[in-house]
């Protein structure tokens, strides 16, 4: 039964992964990828990782949603009303695909994979929590700072609005005295160049 479920889910994962490159619509492609990830997440649950598996589904749902927003925003012909080919550089990608597949297969077949069944009744989520609050605490806190850097970077790069007005008009702070020179550091050579255009 578990084997049947595993086979069905892996077939779904591979099939929807393949469909990502065959559909014309960016929305369909994004959510086909999401379906593929969901199948992988469910396989993880079968592999006694109930937290990581379900969390993968959770994360991928929101991430593919956001990806779909950006794909539709910036891609030509986003809904695939005219048929198109989603893949580029056919020869190179075929070769790369074959090499990657062969390499991974060889790695799986040749390496001596450990066989450690998770004993019944082990609470893996609890172990994960102890790991996060124990030996991996530094990693965990570093992740916090990294995510903060991500947030600030994302805002700096993407937001058009700023504290002192729109970025393409300079976003200069007001002067220290009324009508005075803008406070803060001056841009060294001329104004900004921030004018999105794709």
């Amino acid at each position: 039964m578990t084997d049947a479920l595993f086979l069905a889910l892996s077939t779904l994962a591979i099939w929807s992964g393949w469909r990502v490159f065959r559909v014309d619509s960016m929305v369909r492609a994004s959510f086909q990828l999401m379906v593929s990830f969901i199948a992988v997440g469910l396989i993880a649950v079968l592999l006694a990782a109930p937290y990581i598996g379900i969390a993968t589904i959770f994360m991928m749902a929101v991430e593919m949603m956001v990806m779909a927003l950006f794909m539709v925003m910036f891609m030509m012909n986003p809904a695939g009303l005219n048929p198109m080919v989603m893949v580029h550089q056919h020869r190179f990608s075929i070769a790369a695909g074959i090499i990657a597949f062969a390499g991974l297969t060889a790695a799986v077949l040749l390496s001596d994979l450990p066989v450690q069944r998770v004993p019944e009744g082990v609470d893996v989520v609890r172990n994960l929590g102890h790991e996060l609050l124990g030996p991996s605490m530094l990693i965990f806190e570093t992740a916090g700072v990294t995510l903060l850097a991500t947030m600030i970077g994302a805002v700096v790069l993407s937001a058009h609005s700023g504290r002192y007005g729109a970025s393409d008009t300079g976003s200069l702070p007001p002067g220290l005295t009324p009508g005075g020179e803008p406070a803060g550091r001056k841009p060294e050579n001329g104004g900004h160049h921030h004018h999105g255009g794709h």
């Binding site: 619509s25 929305v27 369909r28 959510f31 999401m34 649950v45 109930p50 937290y51 379900i54 969390a55 589904i57 959770f58 749902a61 929101v62 593919m64 949603m65 956001v66 779909a68 927003l69 809904a79 009303l81 609470d123 989520v125």
Partner: protein, 297 residues
């Protein structure tokens, strides 16, 4: 497990009916009891009109996915001690995944007809529903703290002494905000609102529309059952059997959600976005901190 699933499948249609009755009472319309059935039947018999070059597959499946998510969300709720349809040790996370996928499904529902009003509704909904989901994550983690587990069964058992609604008074109202968002209601109905003439369902007719309303009500049932379980002690209660308590609490949350949906006003979306991040999200932090201090030995 199979018994619990069958009970859920049998209980869902009547509960959806009750949800529709609550909606009619809220709207101040007559024929409360038969109205939903009659209107539903009339809608099912109407044709479903195709739009210009739609995404047929997603248009066909979106209401079905919505219903599926409601069912899966409902299936992690324990009906009585040791009676739960989906025995999974990370039920709270599975519920969260259902919330996240709901956003995807509503987006697809608005995307697939290839028409302007549904499309605007879909995009606005994503803007509001994504941060609304964060609220529910924080308050549900608050519910998981005393249980020391992500299993919904444990969350109920940890409420034997004191319900989470007392331990975490901000939790239920904040969770309700998410409930309004995933059931497309009132102040959080950015998908199907009147200023878009029905938004994502503006182009739907006949059985597809009936099904969308059905799934929406089913999601309300699932949300109410989850809220009753996470904050009001689920099946716990004196005298009456467990399932009866769960049913009563679910109905109470359902009525409160319908009432909240008719009481609060929908802000323009950009204002709501700021409100969510700047007011409600810090409130949910505070709620988590409160329960964190409370459960420390």
């Amino acid at each position: 497990m199979i018994a619990a699933t069958l009970i859920l499948l049998l209980a869902l249609p009547p509960l959806v009916w009750v949800a529709a009755m609550f909606d009619r009472i809220g709207a101040g319309r007559g024929t409360v009891v038969m109205g939903p059935l009659q209107n539903g039947a009339a809608l099912v018999l109407r044709p479903n009109t195709e739009t210009e070059a739609p995404d047929r597959l997603n248009r066909l499946l979106a209401p079905g996915w919505y219903l599926a998510l409601a069912l899966v969300g409902l299936s992690v709720v324990p009906l009585a001690e040791d009676v739960v349809a989906s025995e999974i040790s990370t039920g709270l996370v599975l519920w969260g995944a259902c919330e996240a996928l709901t956003v995807v499904v509503v987006f697809l529902h608005g995307w697939s007809p290839n028409a302007p009003l549904p499309l605007i509704g879909a995009y606005r909904y994503v803007a509001i529903a994504l941060p609304a989901m964060l609220l529910s994550m924080f308050v549900l983690i608050g519910a998981a703290l005393p249980a020391q587990s992500l299993s919904v069964v444990e969350v109920v058992e940890a409420q034997r002494e004191i319900w989470n609604v007392i331990r975490q008074p901000l939790g239920l109202p904040l969770f309700m905000a998410l409930g309004l968002a995933i059931t497309l209601r009132g102040p959080f109905d950015y998908a199907d609102g009147a200023e878009l003439a029905g938004g994502t369902s503006a182009e739907e007719s006949g059985p597809a529309l009936a099904l969308w309303h059905f799934a929406r009500a089913a999601m309300l049932v699932a949300f109410s059952a989850m809220a009753a379980t996470a904050f009001l002690g689920g099946y716990l209660g004196p005298v009456l059997p467990g399932p009866a308590w769960l049913l009563l609490k679910t109905l109470a949350v359902m009525a409160a959600t319908v009432a909240a949906g008719r009481f609060f006003v929908r802000m323009p979306p950009a204002r709501m976005l700021t409100f969510l991040w700047v007011v409600l999200l810090p409130l949910s932090f505070a709620s988590l901190a409160l329960v964190g201090v409370e459960v420390l030995p």
